[in-house]
Amino acid sequence: MTNNQKLNLFLLVLALLAPSVLYPVFLAKVLCFALFACAFNLLLGFVGLLSFGHAAFLGTGGYITGHLMINSGLTPELAILTGTAAGAALGALFGKLAVKREGIYFAMVTLALAQLVFFIYLQAPFTNGEDGMQGVPRGEAFGLIDLSDNLTMYYFVLAIFVFGYWVINRTVHSPFGQILKAIRDNEDRATSLGYDVNRYKWIAFVISAALAALAGSTKTLVFQLASLTDVHWHMSGEVILMTLVGGVGTIFGPVIGAGFIVTMQNYLSGGELGNYIHIIMGVVFVICVLSFRSGIVGQLMKFKRDNFS
């Protein structure tokens, strides 16, 4: 076992034991956002593309899965799969239009497309507008495991998260991932080496979108609710914040970032500090940008490099 594997195993055990101290639904929420942030980071951290429209995939996964669970009698894993596929299809379309653009223009194209998607969900009757799709049944996974118990649900989500994380890990460390990083570091060189840069970007975009939709689908089951919040551009901004806080371009950073932000929101939403939630979020943003640009995990890695090797 390498050090990395040991660390992963340790974290997995931690995740398995966590519900004994923390509320399982909260943990499931953290995992969903962690997966979402990891999916987003696949683009930003490893291809260098800043998408400002990832909420569209999160929301699409959620709405499709929710709709199927309410109306079709599919088992949850099939509903999630369909939701993920829908996200991937939307990602394929977005990607086709966006990957030719760079930098701020890429961000703006994705933002604009996501706004159009938002409008469709706002107007489409099946989403119930801003009331959201409520009372989504959790169903029985594979027709066997009743998910209505929060703890069972948590382990189901954990399994999905581990799968998604594994996909990202594999993608990043595969030859395909090396090409992505080459594109990120020097696009012209990658082109001159004969790689069809846009095609690679597009594939990465679709994977990222699919995983974001997977996160959204799972989240809908956890909360039994799909709402416009998930498609709003604020959500696209929030995932950037999570990734930034955790560490752009590190595989595990977004998980920490998502955990940090979700915990903070949870903590702030109650109690006296609730009034200051936006101010505190803003301060976190500013501090991160000014002095913490490599994020929590990035800083830790740097600390380790500087002191232990």
Binding site: R101, M108, I279, M281
Partner: protein, 292 residues
């Protein structure tokens, strides 16, 4: 029946143009800051809101009237901008543009949160100045004087700014200083000062727009965040960095939005993004942007 509809359409066009001139004013500031300084200022909306609030407070507590506020408020907001640039944005000037976006987004959250905390969310009212009350009955609509004033003032400020930057010597220094800082520095020109002042000016325009808006819209903490993303889209459609592009696109998008409000109001806040997608697919650098 047909001529009545045509009249109604004229009304919508004019109202669209009024909104458009307002958009032009707001996007102009953003375009200057991005075009010349390459800073993506997401706090522009919050500073616009700040402008409206300062105007309100100045009237309430110091008796400073609307006309004086038109001068004083942009100066105040500009000073806030200068402090922001000097102490927060400059330290990250050499990083990716993305970071200035995130930083200013954070600042916007702080400013908006602070005002919500201090003044609540239900909004405050600012009366239309005596001199601009009332209006004129045109053949196709009633045009309030204040709306006419919005067009005149915005177009004047927009044109003046454009002329200054594109046609005068001062503007030439400015453009050169931001395009090739080392060279200008070698000529003995204080480039960081130019950058700070330009930022301050761009932000002051947002403050000016805030004063213009106070009498017609509810002065509330979220007034800036509602409009920011639209204004941003306008700058992108016009071509990031193109001053004239931002002004013309602002006017144009006001009209497009006005027509949408007539034919399909539900989509009036979304139409701009549709335009943005189409424009960026056909002209990647925006309508008036220079191809890279």
């Amino acid at each position: 029946m047909f001529d009545i509809n045509l009249f109604a359409l004229f009304g919508q066009l004019l109202v669209g143009l009024i909104n458009g001139s307002f958009y032009a004013l707001l996007s102009l500031g953003l375009a200057i800051i991005f075009g010349l300084l390459k800073i993506i200022n997401f706090a522009q909306g919050a500073l616009y809101m700040l402008g409206a609030f300062i105007a309100f407070l100045a009237l309430k507590y110091m008796g400073i009237n609307y006309w004086a506020a038109l001068i004083i408020v942009p100066v105040c907001v500009g000073l806030v901008g200068i402090l922001m640039e000097r102490f927060l944005i400059r330290p990250i000037a050499n990083e990716d543009h993305l970071y200035s976006l995130l930083l200013t987004f954070g600042l916007a959250l702080i400013i908006q949160g602070a005002f919500t905390h201090m003044f609540g969310s239900s909004g405050l009212s600012y009366a239309i100045p005596e001199e601009l009350k009332g209006g004129n009955r045109l053949p196709f609509m009633y045009l309030p004087n204040y709306r006419a004033w919005i067009i005149i003032a915005s177009v004047a400020v927009c044109f003046g700014t454009w002329y200054m930057i594109e046609k005068t010597k001062l503007g030439a220094y400015l453009r050169a200083g931001t395009e090739n800082p080392q060279l200008m520095q070698a000529f003995g020109i204080n480039v960081p000062l130019i950058v700070t002042l330009t930022f301050g000016f761009g932000v002051a325009l947002a403050g000016f727009a805030g004063v213009m808006a106070a009498p017609v819209y509810s002065v509330s903490p979220d007034m800036g965040s509602n409009i920011l993303i639209v204004v941003f889209a306008i700058v992108v459609i016009g071509g990031m960095g193109s001053i004239g592009g931002a002004i013309l696109t602002g006017l144009g998008m006001g009209v497009v939005e006005g027509l949408t409000k007539y034919f399909y109001p539900e989509a009036s806040t979304t139409v701009i993004f549709l335009v943005m997608v189409i424009v960026l697919l056909l002209k990647p650098a925006g309508l008036f942007g220079k191809e890279a």
